[in-house]
């Protein structure tokens, strides 16, 4: 099993290693707003991160498989605005709970990291 990863666009000179599991949390966060298909999720991540983060397809779909297996998201086929069939993912109740706890952890963790970085 490969670790979920978020890669920066290769053209960008800055390298950032993101923590494992972050992609899962981002997906859950985006789906918490509204149901979304895979393509839409990648677009939304890019937009919301001001194009800093780009989701590699090779990570997205295995992540969807994993989230589905854990019962955090479910999927349904719907027709899109331009009349195409697409698979929409939405959060389950367990997924919502998971998002809450992951978000809490993230806040605590990033705050801690920030404190260390500022004091040092």
């Amino acid at each position: 099993m490969l670790p979920p990863e978020i890669l920066e666009e290769s053209s960008m000179p800055r390298q950032q290693d993101l923590l494992q599991g972050t992609l899962d949390m981002l997906i859950l966060r985006i789906l918490s707003v509204e149901p979304m298909h895979g393509w839409g999720i990648t677009q939304r991540v890019e937009q919301m991160s001001d194009e800093v983060l780009q989701v590699q397809q090779g990570s997205l779909y295995p992540a969807m498989e994993r989230l589905g297996r854990k019962g955090w998201v479910i999927s349904e086929w719907h027709t899109t605005d331009n009349n195409r069939r697409a698979r929409y993912y939405s959060l389950t109740r367990a997924g919502r709970k998971q998002l809450e706890s992951q978000a809490r952890n993230w806040t605590r963790l990033s705050a801690a990291v920030n404190r260390v970085m500022q004091k040092a």
């Binding site: 099993m1 490969l2 298909h37 895979g38 393509w39 990648t42 590699q56 397809q57 090779g58 779909y61 295995p62 992540a63 969807m64 498989e65 994993r66 589905g68 297996r69 854990k70 019962g71 195409r84 069939r85 697409a86 698979r87 367990a94």
Partner: protein, 871 residues
Amino acid sequence: MSWLLELKARILALFRGGAMDRERAEEMQYHLEEAARRNLDRGMPADEARRQALLSFGGIENVKEMCRDERGTRLFEDLMQDLRFGLRLLRRNPGFGAVAVLTLALGIGANTAIFSAVRAVIIDDLPYFEPDQLVILREVTPRTPDLLFSIQDLEAVRHRTSAFSAIGAYALGQFVARGDGAADLLRGSRVSPDFFTVFGVTPSLGRLFGNADFMPGARSVVISHAAWVQHFGSAADAVGRALWLNREPWTVVGVMQASFDVGGALWIPMVWPPDLSMSNRSNNLYVVARLGNNVDLSRAQASVAAAMESLRRERPSTNGDTGGRVAKLSDTGSPFVRPTLLLLQGVAGLLLLIACANLANLFLARATDRRREFGVRAALGAGRRRLVRQLLIESMLVATIGGALGVMISYLTVPTLVSAAAWTLPRADSVGVRLPELAFGLGLGILTALGFGSVPAVAASRSDVLKSLSCTIHATPGRGTRILRSVLVAAQVCLALVILTGATLMIKSAARVYSLPMGFEARNLVVAEVPFSPSYVSEDRRREFRHRLVDAMQGRLGARSVALANSMPYTSARMVPFSVAPLNAADKPAFHIMPFRVVSENYFDVLRIPLVQGRLFVPDDRAGHARVAIVNEQFVREFGGRNLVRTRILSRRAEFVVVGVVGDTRNFALTQPPEAAVYAPLEQEGADALSIAVRGGDTATIVHSMREAVMTLDPDLPVVRPEQVGAKMSRVDAQRGFYLLMLSLFAGLGVTLAGVGIYGVLAHVAGLRTREFGVRMALGAQPGEVKALALREGLRPVMAGLLAGLVGAWWVTDLFRVNAVFTAQLFQVAPHDPWTLVSALLGFLVVAATACYIPARRTARIDPATVLRAE
């Protein structure tokens, strides 16, 4: 609960794998198209937009594969794939599959069969309530380490110890019993009030004894399941009906469960004698007890010992040297059965080891043939673990099929084996192949699969991809594999020789036993006893009964020969002291105790005992004429070997004139030397016991008419154990027969398996070296030389195995010398009998040489031209 959800998702994914793949593909297709459209929007040309979308997506198949990994069914899917592949291989190579599966099935079948007996006899609990708490009590004196209790001592112990929650006793006896059908002699017992309480058993019908049943005059009987079937035809209303015991009516109050057989086939209340003085002490009580709460065996033992000690001080004249002994009930009973069964299980284990070595070699040979396949797979990216797993799964597959087949073999053979062993196996009725045996067999299969499967798996995982790709089919395997193969062959040869030696020893001993002359013709001879009841006090009445019985039997069976006697070989005999009348009247006669058979005139004809000297009995040898007797040759030998015809012999009460000498007979067991015997004419001597012998014809018919004839003459007389003398004999000798049968079977199997193993390896090697041999012959080697070369190399590991086997065999024969269980099996054969070793060795060598010769001969037939052209 989240793990439950996840499990559900994984299981669903197992069945929906295909649909999930398709959905994922469609979804990704959509993704690609959207990405391309965005690129178009950004102003890229159509081709470029598509190309960039694909590029940024990465490998589509790769992503699909990663999704599948995430689904968590990967391992299972791979396993299924390996399994399907394994099955395909087996189907494509049915010869290999059949040999492998059969080899294993035989090994596992043998183990499972023995295990079913081991389970019933050793592992399973006795069918009583908390059987661990049950103990037996015995008395001990310096002369006899194992004495039954007397009622006086039991009462004293009962009042002096509190180690037991209940103490029960029973005294064995024989009863002439009659219910609905014919009378029969049953073993039964008188039991104390607490007898059933100790075991914690309940009846299947009616009730057990209450206090009222122990009052004088009460006649209540509890009967066994078997007696219920035999005497009441399993009637539901048997309770309350009468069972005639020794011609007195008793009331059946209960029917016991089938599993309960302590004390025989029926139980009656034991009435305590009013006089408990020591003068009429008799040690006839079997004592069983249940340990009290928190009392262990050693405390119970100490408590009983203390009680007996105080008795010793109290009445030194009668109890001066009497102690007590306590033993677990589960540890008692046939002391030889446990070790012997375990021994057989051990031999079966050796057999499985041989099968295992065989399979390891088979799989090793096949792995050699498949080197290219593995090379290709490794080159295509299959990991070592995957290859090893593939090989292990293939061996598991063979093991599972073989294990299932083995359990089936044991299922089919165990009933036959049990009926052969019924007389030596306690609790034979609970021996059978059931669920535990199935689990045992399949478990053994998996264990062996790990054993024989890991050998080629490790060999394959070590192999070098490049080397295996470049080698041709005919390249011989590496040195390591060759050595491993020889070691495996040597190991199975060694094991097979050990088993064969043990079996040969026993076969030899059995041949000695069975070749002993019986002294009479045992085939087609049915013998039964008819014990007279007290109403046959007068000899006149008995004579009348005998005459009418012979008439009735001859009427029913035609003119077949029916002989009567007071006893026959293999029935209980009357022992009487006899002596030859001293030549000198002043000398005291020297009496020897021997069977005294009072026989009908045709007795010697019917039993086919040869006349050696003098004459047989004639009609004139009857009451009122001179008392005559016939002696056997052993009698003559014991009394000086001179001619005894027309001399006088003495019992303590009478004097006979010897009219003839007949041959000796073996009367109790084959292994017992013939004893001296005296025969007297029935019409002259009379007899208070009666045995019948009928020669020829169908056993069932004879037994039926015997029962019918006795029944019409007197329904109260039982016909006891009517059966072929052969059946009686084999019961006496059953243990030898059973172990002999099992060991011979195992030895045969072991030798066959080893032979097949040797052959398999050699045939494979010969196949691999066809080209080499072809080249040798093309260069001038004679076919004979090539053959000799192949034979020599094939026999080398066999010889090594035989050498190791000789050491093992010596150790096994030593076991026959040291261990009582083994020693008891031997008759007139020395444990270290050199001929046994030599004959086992030679026998095995013949098998091994044949197994080597067949493939070797094939190499000699190689046509060099064909071989060289084929390259």
